[in-house]
Symmetry: C2
Subunit: 457 residues, 2 copies
């Protein structure tokens, strides 16, 4: 990686000093992702002429990596001829992604400068439902026929390969485009030229459907380590392939979504800086409101015990510790369960097994926290005639122990319940669990305090 | 995916009815990951004989996918000859992973049944530092020489390919094993047989070092969509390759680690069910203790205002809502920043830009929450002579607005600060931010209440 880092540092210097002639030569050595990064650093009026200097095949790859805003700016600056020559080098799934992000006027300009076959293919891709395999796939794959020999297969790969996103996995189809088998270039290379492909192809083909959810597909790639998977339509016809790099992107997007959901944020598909302040606010406010109003319950429980803490105000000082620790314990359990469910390591039917484990963990954790809290209260607080310090420590530690048990139980149960009833378990994360556990903590604490101290409410 | 799901359902039935003859035939049709899943469902004394029925190449792949416990049980049951024939089919990086997980006695048994070259290679792999590229790579790759023609390259791939993890990316090296260039099988296929490989190879090769951190490598794969990357040692010699599937696994592990850290859990590399109750407890208790003791601060602030809430107990009922909302707002900001830093979308030097954005988001969110909270207080609470309901609503809403600003600021600043001083930003997540924001919320609330209501403390 050292080489690229050095080249990028050099590029940074050249951008600073506006040495575009040298920068142009350097950019040819860099992967498209890095060229895109360099162009993003430049103001638009400088980026456009530099982009024009790129060879057309590199230009196509770089364009795909840019932000939608920059793509739009470049495309509107292109002449029809320039645009056509770049689009000619672009894979169809990338072109569909590009078209999807463009304002209507530019979509027209893009499609006008594409050959009719590609235009039709892009239009077909755009028709698939959001988040489906259809939107991930590319219709460019190598198809073979079962009567071909290995030599003929190589001839076909040589003839059609340059335009395909991957040539390493080839599909043997019949005249109705139904998959008969799959063969890797490795298998072809290791066979003799005269072998019929039907003898070496794998007939047990794992396929996905155009309507399959893209997250499920990403997990399939993660599990089986495929390079590519074939996509079939409602009539079992092979219509495209999904490649591992697209699956990797989906996996990362999905993880980001889970992080956001687990922090009570409505996920956004765009990057942080691309999203407007207003949209960020909108994505965050819904859950904050729900949780704020829910916290009224805990407030009401506290109000109910007004007489208790009006008499013994030191009780109030214990509330933050109980609420925080309860929330943290619940979050720990729910995070383990949400992640376990997401990775497929846990299923809702494992509830009892997980709960039993969490309860034993809670017994250890609860005991340790209770003991240390006992010391903490003795050290930092002073009781009075009504409540000796030792009694205060006892009440707090007992509550703490029970709160840990309750928190771990809720943290395990709520995400699994969500999954069972078809909701996303990620919503049952820290914020919601904390709110629920808070109410339980406060209720437990004052119930115990009133019982032990013989207070009436 | 339908086919596999159906086969797995059928396998489940066959396991239930113990129809092992039929199960054996069905397992041949399944990917190794699914065969491993079937074997995991069976008690050991039934799994072992079934495993023995697998063809040797499939057996090697399945063994790799099993849990360490099961691997150990199977390996100790194998005869030396059986073990040798399975190990013969195994890739060296997988063998190194296997050896790493085994107890000492079994390590000896494994290495004894490996040919000397593989044994040396595995030993070499095991010497690399934890989490380095060396532990991810496999020494099995296709190496070519620059004077070879495309035809000779194919001959070499055919001769050495069967034992290589991937043949699709080949490396051209000199006699001292330094990389001269890289060529893909696609490029070889599209060139004529007589072309010297030196004419079509890419000389600008992105390499990684054996000592590079595996997370960084995973991000490189994610960014550039490589199939494989070459690994060089301290003397620039090519010693192995890392393939995309290993990078994908690292990416997922790293995400899991971040989820755990962000929930105040010390990450574990093993699966939930593999980790003992005691270790789970140990992994969770450290942060709980730190945070519990930190919450003493908030408790002390509350104690300081005892006189205030002893006079006006309804103030206490507002605390949970303020603490929860503050914590949630802070978590939202810190999650966005932690994820942005992890994906490379944000750098610590973007602090002012992010903060400015978060402040504007906080102004919108804070205003909305304050308005709705005003209504909430009017609706659910009743003031008294000392504090009219409207005044209570005003104090709470003003505090809430300020808490949102503070929370977003801390949520932005703390993860970036952590990154800047070389700590993992993920520790500055919900639990820690919540604890810090709690103290601020309580302090703000009572300061404002005392000022507005002219209370003395």
């Amino acid at each position: 990686m050292q080489e690229i880092k050095e080249l990028m540092e050099r590029a940074g210097e050249l951008v600073e000093s506006r040495s575009f002639a040298e920068l142009k030569n350097l950019m040819k050595e860099l992967p498209p992702q890095d060229v895109a990064a360099i162009l993003s650093e430049l103001p638009r009026e400088e980026a456009a002429p530099l982009f024009r200097l790129l060879p057309k095949d590199q230009a196509a790859e770089v364009l795909v990596e840019l932000d939608p805003d920059q793509q739009a700016a470049l495309i509107s600056a292109f002449s029809d001829r320039e645009l056509a020559s770049i689009l000619d080098e672009m894979f169809l799934d990338d072109m569909a992604d590009l078209v999807e992000e463009m304002p209507a006027g530019l979509v027209k300009k893009v499609l006008k400068n594409t050959d009719p076959a590609s235009r039709k293919a892009v239009n077909d891709l755009l028709k698939y439902p959001k988040d489906s395999a259809g939107t991930l796939m590319t219709p460019e794959f190598v198809d073979l026929r079962r009567q071909m020999t290995v030599r003929e297969c190589f001839d076909r790969i040589r003839a059609t390969g340059p335009d395909k996103e991957t040539v390493y996995t080839c599909y043997v189809t019949d005249e109705r485009r139904r998959i008969q088998g799959v063969v890797s270039v490795k298998d072809l290379l290791l066979a003799s030229y005269e072998t019929p492909v039907s003898e070496i192809m794998e007939t047990n083909v794992i396929t996905i459907r155009t309507t399959d959810d893209k997250e499920e597909i990403a997990h399939t790639f993660d599990k089986y380590d495929f390079l590519a998977l074939p996509v079939i339509d409602g009539e079992d016809r092979l219509v495209g392939i999904v490649t591992f790099d697209d699956a990797m992107d989906v996996l990362q997007e999905e993880n980001t979504e889970d992080f956001e959901k687990m922090a009570a944020i409505t996920p956004s598909e765009k990057g942080y800086f691309e999203v407007s302040v207003f949209t960020h606010a909108k994505n965050r406010i819904l859950w904050l409101l729900v949780l704020m109003v829910s916290a009224t319950l805990t407030g009401n429980i506290l109000s109910h015990y007004e007489a208790a803490f009006a008499t013994i105000p030191v009780l109030v000082a214990m509330i933050p510790m109980l609420m925080d620790t309860g929330g943290n314990c619940g979050s720990q359990a729910s995070t383990m369960v949400i992640r376990g469910l997401a990775l497929g390591d846990m299923k809702p039917r494992d509830f009892l097994r997980v709960w039993f484990k969490e309860i034993r963990i809670a017994l250890i954790v609860g005991t340790a926290l209770a003991v240390i809290n006992f010391g903490r209260v003795l050290l930092f607080y002073h009781g009075n005639g009504q409540v000796p310090t030792v009694l205060l420590a006892f009440i707090t530690s007992l509550t703490l122990f029970l709160v840990v048990l309750v928190a771990k139980t809720l943290g395990t149960a709520l995400p699994m319940l969500a999954k069972r009833i078809g909701l996303d378990p990620a919503i049952m994360a820290s914020p919601l669990i904390t709110t629920v556990v808070d109410a339980c903590s406060v209720l437990l604490f004052f119930s115990i305090a009133c019982a032990v101290l013989h207070l009436t409410v």
